[in-house]
């Protein structure tokens, strides 16, 4: 990075953060601090919902996913538009009608206070523990690639997001999201244009797409019913619907983005904006990864993209031999691709089939050498990070883009980290203030200024917790996966609480509360006794919570049921 890159990077990041803090520095209204301006339009809400979901990992890992495994991952988003329609039709009108600040307040109004505290507690536990990961995960990649000190990257990004989120709350988050998403879109389009221009002469987009397709990178949809396949249309529609519904409908970091605004229309249109654009956007990001794969078939590239990790271990001749073999395999693969393109243009089907088989075999050989390189690193250090696909896109940015745009793309990664972190901090601060602090200090609820001061303090506190955790995560990296697993263990039961609230009207507070506790206990016991993918616990927890609630309501003593009906 040169001076121009630094100017673009710091100018955009600090400029947007300072703009957000400056514009919202006089906020004294709790409603504006927690829900944003009452004049916010659907465009800002739509971009804010999108920016909350798009973390830095989205822009670092998803092109790498396209590079490594192809674009089939796009199917994961198939349930999202359907989930957003349900949120618009059922969740949002209810949140607006009850005029709640948090999704968990709704649980309190629908059931009782203990159920509200349970919902808020599950959210705080899950999001609070994960708070450091959204800073740490991109920081470790960027600091590795750019050679910056990890602790300084964490502290800089952490303090930047704390300053404007604490100052302006939800209003500052929405304002900065708008500009961050604009910058992210501009940066990603720039990278895609440069990538297309850098493809070998004569290949063009169509030729590159045919090469990527022939090498298995462009299977966007898979209608297979084979349950062992990770990404199919069916897992995307059904699993994606479930996950998106829990994320958009019950996670305060998203709920807070759309419950404000001028009217319910703005929230609904903001969500529909995402329902329409999300799949095409993810498709383009994944396609960039697949095109990057074609680009690197014709351009020299390292056998292992995380070069810092590679250099740390590549001390003996074995690693040099792997590099030499990879360069040779790459040359053969290039030659095979050119032969296939010629055969394809010749209209000779037999020649084309034979050339295609040779191209696939050459590519498989190059892949096998990359796998050997990963194994060599793992053998040298069992704790080493052997997944290098996250480093593919950032390597392209740093080596192929002109100066100025490098700064812009690095800023894109940091802006994405800041945008998701800001929404998370605002949600944690809001939930702590509304569902815990005000609950235990009911007499102070009317003092609006004090409420805003308390919300600012809790938001700042969660920011510092996130920074501290991110700094510690470097010493205990296996904690990160444990936290992701913990999230899945809690998410399902949380969605179950909301589904009962919306769709099973005869169930009361005591029934759903004890059902949720029992469902959570079941999930934890299953986690320690079964060996299944942890994402399944989302479905198990939700189904158990709904089923137990219905059963519990049926067996509750008649007096308890009558009390609850009267209370409603």
């Amino acid at each position: 990075m040169n001076v121009a890159d630094w100017i673009v990077l710091l100018g955009t990041l600090v400029g947007i953060a300072a703009y957000g803090a400056w514009r919202t520095r006089h906020i004294r209204s709790l409603n504006t601090y927690l829900r944003g301006s009452t004049s916010t339009g659907w465009g800002t809400i739509g971009l804010s919902v999108m920016a909350t979901q798009a973390s830095a990992i989205t822009f670092l890992s998803i092109p790498g996913q396209g590079f490594e495994s192809g674009i089939g991952f796009v199917q994961n988003y198939f349930g999202l538009p359907l989930a957003l329609i349900i949120v618009c039709a059922v969740f949002l009108p209810m949140y607006r009608r009850l005029n709640v600040y948090t999704a968990y307040e709704f649980l309190g109004q629908r059931f009782d206070e203990k159920t509200r505290l349970l919902g808020a507690g599950l959210f705080l536990l899950q999001r609070g523990l994960a708070a450091g990961v959204t800073i740490y995960a991109p920081a470790i990649i960027m600091s590795t690639v750019l050679g910056w000190r990890l602790d300084l990257v964490i502290v800089f990004t952490g303090l930047l997001v704390i300053v404007y989120t604490v100052t302006g709350g939800s209003e500052a988050v929405a304002l900065t999201h708008k500009w961050q998403m604009t910058m992210i879109s501009a940066g990603m389009v720039t990278a895609l244009v440069v990538l297309l221009l850098r493809l070998p002469g004569g290949l063009g987009f169509t030729g590159a797409a045919h090469v990527a397709g022939a090498l298995g990178k462009l299977q966007a949809v898979d209608f297979s019913l084979d349950p062992s396949r990770r990404y199919t249309v069916w897992t995307g529609v059904f699993g994606g619907l479930f996950l998106s519904l829990s994320y958009f409908g019950t996670d305060q970091s998203q709920v807070q983005r759309y419950i404000g605004g001028a009217s319910i229309r703005e929230g609904r249109l903001g969500l529909m904006f995402n329902a329409v654009l999300k799949i095409p956007m993810q498709f383009v990001i994944l396609l960039s990864g697949a095109l990057l794969f074609v680009f690197y078939q014709f351009a020299p590239h390292p056998v292992f993209f995380n070069q810092a990790e590679w250099r740390r271990h590549a001390q003996d001749g074995k690693f040099a031999a792997l590099e030499a073999r990879h360069a040779s395999a790459l040359a053969q693969s290039q030659s095979a691709i050119r032969s296939w393109l010629e055969a394809r243009a010749s209209d000779d089907a037999a020649r084309e089939t034979s050339a295609r088989a040779a191209m696939v075999a050459a590519n498989d050989r190059a892949d096998a050498i990359r796998a050997e390189a990963r194994a060599a690193i793992a053998a040298a250090d069992p704790r080493a990070k052997t997944k290098d696909s996250d480093y593919v896109f950032i390597t392209f940015i740093l080596t192929e883009l002109p100066h100025g745009t490098i700064g812009l793309l690095v800023a894109v990664m940091f802006a994405a980290a800041l945008s998701s972190k800001a929404a998370e901090l605002a949600a944690l601060g809001t939930t702590t203030t509304i569902d815990l602090w005000r609950h235990f200090h009911p007499l102070t609820a009317a003092d609006e200024r004090r409420n805003v001061r308390v919300a600012r303090r809790f938001t700042g506190m969660w920011g510092l917790v996130a920074v501290a955790f991110a700094l510690l995560a470097g010493f205990a990296e296996n904690l990160i996966e444990a936290i992701n697993i913990l999230g899945s263990i809690f998410y399902g039961v949380l969605l179950g609480l909301f589904l009962v609230a919306f769709f099973v009207r005869h169930v009361g507070g005591s029934a759903v509360f004890f059902a949720a506790v029992a469902a959570e206990a079941l999930v934890i016991v299953m986690y320690f006794s079964l060996n299944i993918g942890y994402l399944w616990y989302n479905i198990i927890g939700c189904a158990a919570c709904v089923a137990f609630s219905v059963a519990m309501q049926a067996i509750l003593p008649p007096r308890a049921r009558a009390d609850e009906v009267r209370a409603r």
């Binding site: 409603n31 198939f78 618009c88 009108p93 009608r97 966007a220 229309r265 249109l269």
Partner: protein, 50 residues
């Protein structure tokens, strides 16, 4: 001191106010139709390039 604003009574009666759509149901059907179109286009894309 001001208290939080009252419940949004207009929540259910508000119209989408989007050209071509008189009801929210119509807009949801459009989004669902868009999803089906995207699915169909991705299927064609897969058939063309795989």
């Amino acid at each position: 001191m001001t208290l939080a604003p009252g419940p949004d009574e207009r929540a259910d009666s508000e119209r989408p106010d989007v050209p071509g759509f008189r009801t929210w149901r119509g807009l949801y059907l459009f989004v669902f139709g868009w999803f089906m179109l995207v699915l169909a286009l991705l299927t064609v894309f897969t058939a063309m390039f795989s």
